[in-house]
């Protein structure tokens, strides 16, 4: 049975993806019999190409994806290079991981409220410093360059990349490398950049690619923070799919295929950049410079990460204030009155969505967990190297959601599978499983094989060794991976809406539906509720191992 696990896992991810893509490629070339399209042609592509603002949309998606990734990665790398494991560094690190729990949309709302001309920052300094009695007429949120969108994305991707780096670092023997380089006269920061980073990067490459793919095709954040004249490509595609004029479906499908191309182009660009850096960094690595820029890097690394963290925390703080606010006239720094009305209005209606969110999240995490652990266990038992087919697991993260989910609905309907809870769980699995694999595989492979060998040499069979040795030893990383998965499941909007036919309301579909109504106070309540479940998940992932291993000193740290 075990040897089938990788195949079950890969087909559970690739088959729906392929079916969805097929159902979107056909209409892109004119074939959609239900609307009378029965021949293949390029009309949709011509219409798409002539669409006002298309070129700018493409450029926005492409550039914002690359820049976001580059900046987020730099922030993480600079921090790690500066990181001396001091109390300050550890507290910064600890603050960052819960940020992963906060859904993209919630961060976007919070950020928009901070930086808008009528936002918290301006309110705090007005009219005292600025003399503004009315908000200044400047374009910050939704700026045409996509800067606020990139800032919002960065706030979310920094914690993700940091967590991935921290998961990969222990296997590199960082301390020894640093000690060796320092004994040769390198400052710690430069030593880290020259001896650890080159080995670290290959290990976090896939997460970086996932970030690029996500950032080039994100929908929810772009709706809130992104430019509007024109919007990013993914937002345009969504609006074409939702256009009352049904003939737009052809163009929407072509757009979805184009989005896939844009994402691939961004990935290719990044890959070329990697090749260049690999070729030309050699000189820098061995040029012997031991100190240059060390202080700047050390300071900026800490500053950048701290700023990121503080921004997210203030954004959440802003949401809390707004969820309790009565009317709040500009430029008052705080609302004139506070009220619990908004919470009282929302709470009674979110019980079912919360239960749905929880059951979909737990079920998809459980299934993904079993499949991923079985796949990894199979690989470890048979000493399989990290295979190329691993790339297949990440396809759902790299293919933009808008490019295949609409097609997947048609595919499911064709198989007479009706929208229901089980279908939503399967759809979530597409995104939950890759993230679970991403967050667990390093720890799983890294676990000292001698633990299980000792068990075998004591006459204990593979299954008992699995349950009694490997799983307990991996409890902490396993729970963290599950918390990541749960957070991923909770934040899914399109898969829940489309595959559930809207019948499975979750806290996220409620939040997005409510967002369309624009009552910021109610949005704040829902965004906070949306952040609550993943936050509980991450807290449990942190607390359970501490509680279970309260009397086992070694297990308190990382195994």
């Amino acid at each position: 049975m075990l040897f089938l696990a990788p195949w079950v896992l890969i087909s559970a991810l690739v088959v729906p993806l392929a079916a969805g893509l097929a159902m979107i490629i056909l209409p892109a070339f004119g074939y959609l019999p239900v609307l009378g399209g029965e021949t293949f042609h390029f009309d949709a592509w011509r219409a798409l190409w002539a669409y006002p603002g298309l070129h700018r949309s493409i450029l926005l998606s492409y550039v914002s994806g690359l820049i976001t990734t580059l900046v987020a990665l730099s922030v993480v790398v600079l921090f790690l290079a500066a990181n001396r494991g001091t109390w300050l560094d550890r507290s910064i690190r600890r603050l960052v991981s819960p940020l992963l729990a906060i859904p993209h949309a919630a961060v976007a709302f919070g950020l928009a409220f901070l930086i808008a001309p009528s936002g918290l920052f301006v309110r705090w300094i007005s009219p005292g410093l600025t003399g503004w009695e009315r908000p200044p007429d400047v374009l910050i949120v939704n700026d045409p360059w996509g800067l606020s969108l990139m800032a919002g994305l960065m706030l979310k991707e920094v914690p993700f990349l940091l967590l991935m780096c921290l998961a990969a670092l222990p296997q590199l023997g960082t301390e020894k490398r640093l000690m060796m380089a320092r004994s040769l006269g390198y400052t710690p920061t430069i030593a880290w950049l020259k001896t650890v980073l080159p080995s670290l990067y290959p290990l976090i490459r896939l997460p970086v690619y996932a970030v690029i793919a996500y950032a080039t095709s994100v929908v929810d954040m772009a709706l809130i923070l992104g430019p509007t004249l024109p919007p990013t490509l993914s937002v345009s595609i969504l609006s074409w799919f939702n256009d009352p004029n049904l003939d737009r479906r052809y163009m929407a499908s072509a757009g979805a295929v184009l989005q896939l191309g844009v994402t691939l182009a961004a990935l290719l660009t990044w890959w070329l950049g990697e090749q260049c850096i690999r070729r030309f960094s050699h000189y820098w690595l061995v040029n012997g410079a031991r100190k240059a820029g060390s202080t700047t890097i050390a300071i900026s690394g800490r500053m950048l990460l701290t700023t990121t963290t503080l921004l997210v925390i203030s954004a959440i703080g802003g949401l809390v204030v707004f969820s309790l606010a009565g009317f709040w006239r500009f430029p008052d720094a705080f609302p004139g009155t506070f009220t619990l009305d908004h919470w009282q209005r929302i709470l009674p209606s979110v019980i079912t969505p919360l239960m749905n969110t929880l059951s979909v999240g737990l079920a998809s995490t459980l299934i993904a967990g079993v499949l991923v652990v079985a796949t990894l266990e199979n690989a470890v038992r048979h000493h399989l190297p990290v295979s190329r087919s691993q790339w297949l697991l990440y396809l759902p993260l790299i293919v933009p959601q808008v490019a295949f989910l609409f097609g997947l609905v048609v595919a499911a309907e064709s198989m007479r599978i009706r929208p229901q809870l089980a279908l939503v769980i399967v759809a979530h699995l597409l995104f939950v499983a890759p993230y679970l694999y991403l967050s667990l595989s390093e720890a799983y492979r890294r676990l000292d094989p001698r633990w299980v060998q000792v068990a075998h040499s004591l006459g204990v069979g593979p299954w008992r060794a699995f349950w009694q040795v490997r799983l307990p030893l991996l409890l902490a990383p396993l729970l963290t991976a599950c918390a990541v998965s749960l957070a991923v499941s909770i934040s899914q909007y399109l898969p829940t809406l489309l595959l559930g036919g809207g019948r499975i309301p979750t806290i996220t579909t409620e939040a997005v539906a409510m967002a369309s109504g624009g009552n910021r106070r109610l949005i704040a309540v829902l965004a906070l509720l949306q952040a609550l479940l993943p936050f509980i998940g991450f807290s449990l992932a942190l607390l359970i191992p501490r509680w279970v291993w309260a009397k086992r000193r070694t297990m308190q740290g990382v195994v």
Binding site: Q453, S457, V469, P472
Partner: protein, 210 residues
């Protein structure tokens, strides 16, 4: 001690990508220690992995392994009845000292509790059942690891440089404890080491690899 079996490594050759690493053909009688010596890379660990049943499929092994008449090399690791002591004591950090010993006991053992406390007594650790392994000293850990091995009732034992991480004074003491216990149990033992003193203490024949 005629009841105890002997370990027979029969015409074994191990190679990696058609390059031969080692060849060995030996019988280890009950209670005897065969010492294998050699520098790093000479194939010591590969030999151990083969005997214990953990050899990576990248290697090709020809030959057989017998415990008396029973063929072992076709069995999975946990069915071979070959116990293993590593360089590190590898006490499971998630189990108590008692839990580690209990983990080694065969499922159907009678009166596990008494067996465990007796084993701890034997190595001067009476009453340590509830202790967290992390609170033990290096020598104490080594002793618990040894007793865990013996409680699992192995038919043969492999030692992978088990004393190399102990300081000199402790090494002497642990050596005599380990070899004493193994001899008393009458188990055929294979010791892998690069320390001549280990070989001398073991007192058996020595093979040099590499």
């Amino acid at each position: 001690m005629n009841a105890n079996p002997r370990l027979h490594i029969k015409q074994l050759t191990i190679s990696l990508e058609s390059e031969m690493l080692l060849a060995i053909d030996r019988v280890i009688p009950p209670g005897d220690v065969l010492t294998v010596m050699g520098p790093s890379g000479s194939g010591k660990s590969t030999l151990l992995a083969y005997l214990a049943g953990f050899l990576s499929p990248a290697f090709t092994a020809l030959g057989q392994l017998y415990l008396d008449e029973q063929r072992l090399d076709t069995l999975p690791a946990e069915k071979r009845g070959i116990g293993l002591l590593f360089q590190d004591p590898l006490l499971f950090p998630h189990l108590s000292v008692g839990g580690n010993l209990r983990f080694g006991l065969p499922r159907q053992s009678n009166d596990k509790h008494r067996q465990i406390s007796h084993a701890l007594e034997q190595v001067g650790l009476a009453g340590f059942e509830k202790r967290d392994p992390a609170t033990l000293s290096g020598g104490q850990k080594a002793r618990v690891a040894l007793m865990r091995l013996l409680l699992s009732k192995p038919q043969a034992v492999l030692l992978d440089e088990p004393f190399s991480k102990l300081d000199t004074a402790l090494r002497q003491e642990t050596r005599s404890l380990v070899f004493g216990q193994l001899r008393e149990a009458g188990l055929p033992t294979l010791l892998v080491t690069h320390d001549r003193a280990d070989a001398d203490a073991a007192g058996g024949p020595v093979i040099e690899l590499g």
